[in-house]
Symmetry: C2
Subunit: 216 residues, 2 copies
DNA sequence: AGGTGTCCTTACCGCATGGTAAGCACGCTC
DNA sequence: GAGCGTGCTTACCATGCGGTAAGGACACCT
């Protein structure tokens, strides 16, 4: 019987892992099934035993990435209390997620370039509600005077996500534009840009100072 | 004899144009020479007559994109007078360049993903001085109190360029996350983010963003 | 012991790919 | 008009691709 539930054998998970790495590095078209099989240490038909086709493998890899967010996002949004807390929570989790494995960012980036129509559908269907939710929190923060009145919430959220994605995907490149270990500088500046373009400096300075120093 | 100067025949330029479009849309590996030949309306060996190999075509397409900047950047930097003028000039030209033909952004994005080592060399070699120059202008503006003191100029420049690139490359996608024609909203918000994360609101009161307290 | 299903192998297939060989038509120079 | 280089054609080639066929090793159930 063909498994409706994932069999979760070693080869299957190793294949998913290798496929993510190789798709991210060389692209879907640039990766041969033989490459994946070699990376796993089995033969080509072995991995085709677990996935009906290369196309199914792509989808499985994407599902691994996307399923993380279907689980993490509700938790994050419910856990954080106030508007700006929610922003920090989601922003931080997003950065951490892609910093943990930049291949995730590269894979998504490639997917957006390779199959815009499918990604469009995905965005319209399941991702958009999350954009709307985060944008809603920003809007409510805006009404409380926390943010710039000129912020376009939806566009802001999309841009910041794009920036986090692109920065994670291009991390090894970006550090070539600076000296030494530029990673922490980039991370800090990314957070600063996201923050400074949302929170005006006066209220922001009070808030962070109050938050950071009062606790110590 | 193989031409050292570009012959500039119709087929050659048409091939470059088609190759840029197809490489941007389907990637280098995902584009067959036959596809390019079909798009141009000639046979496969015809385009191999103008470019020794597919690899040479990739480089030629990249050269078309990069040569624009070797010409435009000095002009822009010399034309603009003050620090923030220079910023607006370079930022505006960058946005316009990629908005004119988003395939340029997609091509560069793919190149960064496909061949990080080569792009790294390119960055270290010829692009980096321009980053440094723009960063220098920001630093001088910072000393005049125009910008946030916490800005990391080099990291800021890289991130903003990344954002412009990613936004141009993903433009058709991003508009799927919003309603209606979202393009102008995205462009405006992108400019706002770049601006607001560099200029504190008080110092640019007469420029754009002063509506926050006075309007509401 | 025999049956059965899972996981993986070797061997193979049809096809598309990047690239080459050889030659043809045209325009130029002498 | 002979010679020749340029720009292109048709015909072809070796390779590597995604995917299939068929069967073996092994575990587990009856």
């Amino acid at each position: 019987m063909v498994a409706s539930r994932a069999p979760d054998t070693d080869v299957r998970v190793a294949t998913l892992s290798a496929a993510m790495r190789l798709f991210a590095a060389h692209g879907f078209e640039g990766t041969a099934l033989q490459d994946i099989a070699d990376a796993v240490g089995v033969t080509k038909p072995a991995i085709l035993h677990h996935f009906p086709s290369k196309e199914h493998m792509r989808q499985a890899v994407l599902d691994v990435i996307l399923s993380h967010w279907n689980e993490a996002l509700p938790r994050l949004l419910l856990a954080a209390t106030a508007g700006d807390d929610r922003f920090d929570a989601v922003f931080g989790e997003t950065c951490r997620f892609f910093a943990t494995d930049p291949d995730r960012a590269r894979m998504l980036m490639r997917e957006a370039l390779d199959r815009p129509a499918e990604v469009r559908k995905l965005l319209r269907g399941s991702v958009r509600p999350w954009f709307a939710a985060v944008a809603g929190y920003i809007r409510s923060g805006k009404e409380k005077g926390l943010h710039y009145a000129t912020v376009d919430e939806e566009a802001y959220v999309v841009h910041i996500l794009l920036l986090v994605l692109a920065a994670a995907a291009a991390a090894p490149l970006a550090s070539a534009a600076l000296d030494g270990d530029a990673r922490p500088r980039f991370e800090r500046e990314l957070a600063r840009i996201a923050h400074a373009s949302l929170f005006p400096p006066s209220s922001d300075a009070e808030r962070t100072v109050r938050k950071r120093k009062s606790q110590r």
